[in-house]
């Protein structure tokens, strides 16, 4: 059947990209040597495979978080990065780094997640006042709201001499990913799977509060589930690799163009395409200025902005 094609294509692209990702880098690695060269094998297990997995996990979970957010807000142009969610998580992370630097990473992550929950709540409170006939106002308010939170974070970091930390969180990159340093991301991947189990609920919620109530959906519950998922994913990603802007925006928009919004069908493609884009950005970042590396977040900042502008400006076809 025709509808299986997107899944096959996504899967194939991911396989190819993963293969490329595993064999590209400063250290030499080739298919011929890896099986009997212990050093190469070690490189594979400690760096290349974790790095590839991290990019896949991050890309898929962020894209899924983006699509959930878009359905819940009922607006095409929101994602954790355009709603202050990432900045709020950063503020939380900053606070815990200053106040309790000794806490384990898991505890820090939870604080960041709580902060980003508060951030999302603030965003929802703000957009409630917006007229429903001006959909682009929502991302604009979100961006400015994020800007304010970001300015606050910069100010605090400046006073506490933590600007460098902020720089690390702000630019998502995978060069620091090694075995033992990325495993938290499996949680993000798990959340994406969880979201798939609730795919129908999110689709119904996307019809609006009234329509979902009329279908007997516990709207509040679904909203909470979605918001918590988004907050957790954003914080997990920031803690491990840093902010990757636009993924959650661009990928769901492309998939929605091609396949619509019935999450039961599209969520796997959203996750796969997100993973593919992040991995591709990471690969480009590794080869563009070899042997230096460009953060994947920067690469996708360019790629994603161009694609997004195209989405916004292309002439609507009849």
């Amino acid at each position: 059947m025709l509808r299986t094609r997107p899944y096959l294509l996504t899967g194939l692209a991911l396989l190819i990209l993963s293969g490329v990702s595993i064999f590209i880098g400063v250290g030499q690695l080739s298919l011929g040597t890896v099986w009997h060269d212990p050093a190469a094998l070690q490189l594979l297990w400690i760096s290349r495979i974790p790095r590839t997995l991290a990019a896949l996990l991050v890309g898929s979970s962020i894209a899924v978080a983006g699509v959930i957010m878009q359905l819940l807000v009922r607006n095409r142009f929101v994602e954790p990065g355009t709603t202050g969610t990432s900045e709020a998580a950063m503020l939380g992370l900053l606070a815990v780094t200053i106040l309790a630097p000794g806490w384990p990473i898991m505890a820090k992550m939870i604080v960041a997640a709580c902060a980003s929950l508060i951030g999302i709540a603030g965003f929802f409170a703000l957009i409630r006042k917006l007229p429903p006939d001006q959909p682009l106002m929502i991302p604009l308010v979100g961006l400015i709201y994020g800007g304010i939170l970001g300015a606050a974070a910069t100010f605090i970091a400046f006073q506490a001499d933590l600007i460098q930390y902020l720089g690390v969180w702000m630019s998502g990159e995978f060069s620091g990913v090694l075995a033992g340093r990325y495993e938290l991301l499996w949680l993000a991947g798990g959340l994406a799977v969880l979201a798939y189990l609730a795919a129908d609920q999110f689709t119904v919620a996307g019809l609006g509060q009234k329509a979902s109530l009329s279908l007997g959906l516990r709207y509040g519950q679904v909203l909470t589930l979605g918001v918590v998922t988004v907050a957790l994913v954003s914080s997990l990603v920031i803690v491990t690799v840093g902010i990757l802007p636009f993924i959650g925006l661009v990928v769901p928009n492309i998939v929605s163009r091609l396949m619509g919004d019935n999450l039961r069908q599209t969520l796997p493609v959203v996750a796969g395409m997100g993973a593919g884009f992040v991995l591709l950005s990471d690969i480009i970042g590794r080869v563009a200025r070899y042997p230096y590396e460009i953060p994947a977040g920067t690469v996708f900042g360019v790629l994603g902005a161009v694609v997004f502008l195209w989405l916004l400006l292309r002439k609507p076809h009849a």
């Binding site: 429903p132 996307g206 009329s214 007997g216 709207y219 929605s256 619509g260 019935n262």
Partner: protein
């Protein structure tokens, strides 16, 4: 029967509904009529539990609004809202199949598929089934939402101005379909209508609202007379009787 008793509703300082009490009969089409801002939509939203009640109670058959699980309520009544703006890109067929969601919670059975096919048929949507909602016209989208409520297959069906955006043919067909549902399947239908001609032609029962209060109610033939309607709309309204139909004239 829907039993509304002592319902008042205010948004800020504006009193939208003032102590409304009434019964809406089963197995009939009830038309909610009245001038703009009379509180028709608010009343409908309170009946369906879409807005929380402030004072008063509403019960649908034996279910008390506000104390019933959402899913149980969704199995009892389906609602078609007035403005059906949808941001998400769903196909018409997908939308209608979500009408079965209260029954199957996302695991469709053969019976569900039959019901969906029937809904597509009844509302003339087969040709549009695989189109996205944002690629069909306003009237077609409206029909898709009505078809979704139909697929929900509930005892009660509440519709807020479903004829908006519909052309003549589809408006009449929709009313005829609702009539058939009431007659053949003993469904109870509450419908907010602006065009009095449709109300007079199809409704069994009329509830008229004005300024947030009940103006009059009763069987259509009894209460829809020139005097009542003129007072309701503060405009000269005449009833014109032809051989087998009654027309409401108010255009001049």
């Amino acid at each position: 029967m829907i039993d509304i008793s002592g319902v008042s509703y205010a948004i800020g300082k504006a009193q939208i509904l003032k102590d409304v009490s009434l019964h809406i009969p089963c197995g009939q089409i009830t038309a909610l009529i009245g001038p703009n801002g009379a509180g028709k939509s608010t009343l409908l939203n309170l009946m369906s539990g879409q807005e929380p009640l402030q004072t008063g109670t509403v019960s649908v058959d034996a279910l008390h609004i506000g104390q019933t699980r959402p899913r149980d309520l969704a199995l009892k009544m389906a609602v078609v809202a007035q403005h059906v703006g949808v941001a998400s890109r769903l196909r018409v067929r997908d939308l209608i199949s979500f009408g079965r969601w209260p029954h199957n919670q996302g695991r469709p059975t053969a019976a569900d598929h039959t019901m969906i096919a029937q809904a597509l048929d009844r509302f003339d949507l087969n040709a549009l089934a695989d189109r996205f909602l944002d690629e069909v016209s306003g009237g077609q989208r409206q029909r898709a939402f009505v078809a979704m409520a139909y697929a929900q297959d509930t005892d009660w069906l509440l519709l807020d101005e479903p004829l908006n955006n519909l052309d003549l043919r589809h408006a009449s067909r929709l009313m005829a379909e609702l009539h058939r549902l009431a007659r053949e399947q003993d469904k109870s239908i509450v419908i907010v209508l602006h065009d009095l001609n449709y109300a007079v032609a199809w409704a069994d029962h009329v509830v008229a609202m004005k300024n947030g209060a009940l103006a009059f109610e009763g069987a259509t033939q009894k209460v829809t007379n020139a005097e009542n309607l003129s007072a309701l709309y503060d405009t000269d309204v005449r009833l014109v009787q032809t051989e087998d139909e009654v027309f409401v004239a108010h255009h001049r």
